[in-house]
């Protein structure tokens, strides 16, 4: 038993060493992203690297602004909370600029315009937003897709922790439709031939980079962003990531 005890003590010390090291300051700014939203930010599992539209965009911007940074891959809820608390210096993660979010964080200028799209099974009769009335619609809880679908009167909205689960439910017939961001929808539609994209919601949303309130980085980033847009970076990235 003594051996087991000392092994455990060693494990605890070892573990705490490793994990306390994670918190050390390397001088680079920490940029949070929830790498589970292809093609904007996701993990290239073979190379174990975070990749995507947002990833490339921020890399370009940081280069122009002369900022050293590192990405931190965190879950969505801690990401938002972390930005507002200042745990992270910035976050780029398909974050829609919303008024109620502005009370907790600052945003850069918008860098992308996104729409919500309806996805159904290939043989579905649903053709537009008005056809969703009385139907079962899946969304990812807390996203703008959730907001949009719920705003339509008479729609039966089911929230899922992850959009992937909503698509599973759609394919198995438990849902009539799924509403989510256009790029993400394209990923699923191109993979599964029994799904199709139907129509987009008329309202648009804009993605922005989030910062803790009062952050000094906002202006620098905005300047670099404007430069990047002028250089055609956005168009290039759209070609690379969004045109399949």
């Amino acid at each position: 038993m003594k051996k087991l005890f000392s092994f455990v003590i060693a494990m605890v010390l070892f573990g705490s060493l490793i994990f306390s090291a994670c918190g050390t300051d390397s001088g680079k700014i920490r940029v949070a992203t929830d790498a589970t939203w292809a093609p904007f930010e996701y993990v290239d599992t073979a190379a174990n690297q975070i990749v995507g539209f947002d990833i490339d965009l921020f890399t370009e911007i940081a280069e122009r602004a002369g900022i050293e940074f590192e990405f931190v891959n965190v879950e969505w809820d801690p990401l938002l909370a972390g930005v507002s608390q200042g745990t992270y210096d910035a976050a780029i993660s398909s974050i829609t600029i919303k008024e109620d979010r502005k009370t907790d964080m600052d945003f850069s200028d918008p860098y992308f315009i996104a729409k919500q799209v309806i996805v159904t099974k290939a043989d579905s009769a649903i053709a537009g937003v008005s056809d969703l009335v009385g139907k079962k619609v899946g969304v990812q809880s807390g996203t703008t897709g959730d907001d949009e679908a719920s705003a339509v009167d008479g729609v039966n909205v089911t929230g899922y922790d992850e959009i992937g689960m909503a698509f599973v439910a759609l394919r198995s017939g438990q849902l009539d439709a799924v509403v989510c961001d256009t790029p993400v929808a394209s990923g699923y539609v191109s993979k599964y031939s029994d799904l199709k994209s139907v129509a987009e919601f008329p309202t648009i949303e804009e993605y922005g980079i989030a910062f803790p309130k009062g952050s000094k980085l906002v202006d620098k980033i905005n300047d670099a962003l404007a430069e990047a847009i002028a250089d055609g970076v956005i168009d290039r990235l759209v070609q690379k990531w969004l045109v399949s």
Binding site: I18, F19, D44
Partner: protein, 274 residues
């Protein structure tokens, strides 16, 4: 002092030792083998995506194991203190430990995790502002440490009750005999009561480990890159929820099955130990 082998072991079990016990052991190990075989088959027959999932999730498995093991042993210590407190005649110790147990048991672990992760930095920072301590103002939450603390505190409350009932099951006469020989309360606990209580506590202790292993998946919600989080990342990159979650479930299953075998082994060994 020679180790006895031929003498009859603890008399309560002498009718159990023998072929019967071994048979039950074998059946359980078969289950482990079956699950392992399924995993291996999936990886070999359909490496895309199953092998990729396993390879990618490796670091998550390590994190899950470390979080589980570290939290477990810390909560044992907390549980021992809490259990002794719940049995204490001292009103302060009794009060604090009872309050701790009742409050913590009344809140779901997920809520506690979220509370620790999101609320504690705010509280600490405000405290720092109020007291003017720079270090506190600059406090940034460390996800893994916070997760381990949350799990330890939560499971410690349940462990306290397990310890308390285990100690209560030891006849009062044991403590009396030890004290009448002149032993202090702590000596009596350490050498006489706790070793006997341990045998009663051991099975539920094992259950708690397995429960903890599964509950560790909750830490993915608070920014810890465990197996569940890795599964989520893989699935988002490849749009294949069913295959991903199947493999993740199998990986959790094999960990809990192995843990259950280890617990069972320790239980058996402790019955014949000194």
């Amino acid at each position: 002092m020679e180790k006895y082998k031929k003498d009859a072991p603890n008399r309560e079990l002498s009718f159990v030792t023998g072929g019967e016990v071994n048979l039950r052991q074998d059946a359980w190990w078969w289950l482990v083998v079956v699950v392992a075989a399924v995993i291996v088959l999936l990886v070999m027959l359909q490496p895309v995506p199953f092998k990729d999932i396993v390879v990618f999730a490796k670091s998550g498995i390590l994190v899950t194991i470390v979080v589980t093991v570290v939290s477990y042993f810390l909560m044992l210590i907390l549980g021992l203190a809490g259990g002794l407190g719940r049995l204490s005649k001292n009103k302060l110790f009794f009060g604090i430990s009872s309050l701790y147990v009742e409050v913590v048991r009344g809140i779901p672990l997920l809520v506690q995790l979220i509370g620790w992760y999101f609320a504690s930095p705010v509280i600490i920072q405000k405290l720092g502002l109020w007291l003017g301590i720079e270090a506190l103002i600059q406090y940034r939450v460390n996800p893994i440490v916070t997760a381990i603390v949350a799990i330890t505190v939560c499971y410690g409350a349940y462990m306290s009750e397990i310890v308390r009932s285990g100690i209560s099951s030891v006849p009062r006469g044991q403590m009396e005999a030890a004290r009448s020989l002149g032993m202090s309360y702590f000596q009596a606990m350490r050498y006489v009561v706790l070793p006997q209580a341990f045998r009663v506590i051991l099975p539920p202790m094992g259950n708690e480990f397995i429960a903890l292993l599964k509950d560790s998946s909750l830490v993915s919600v608070v920014a810890v890159a465990d197996l569940t989080r890795k599964g989520r990342e893989f699935m988002a990159a490849h749009f294949n929820p069913i295959e991903t979650w199947l493999m993740v479930a199998l990986l959790y299953l094999i960990m809990t099955l192995i843990a259950a075998r280890v617990v069972s082994y320790i239980e058996k060994r402790s019955k014949f130990e000194r």
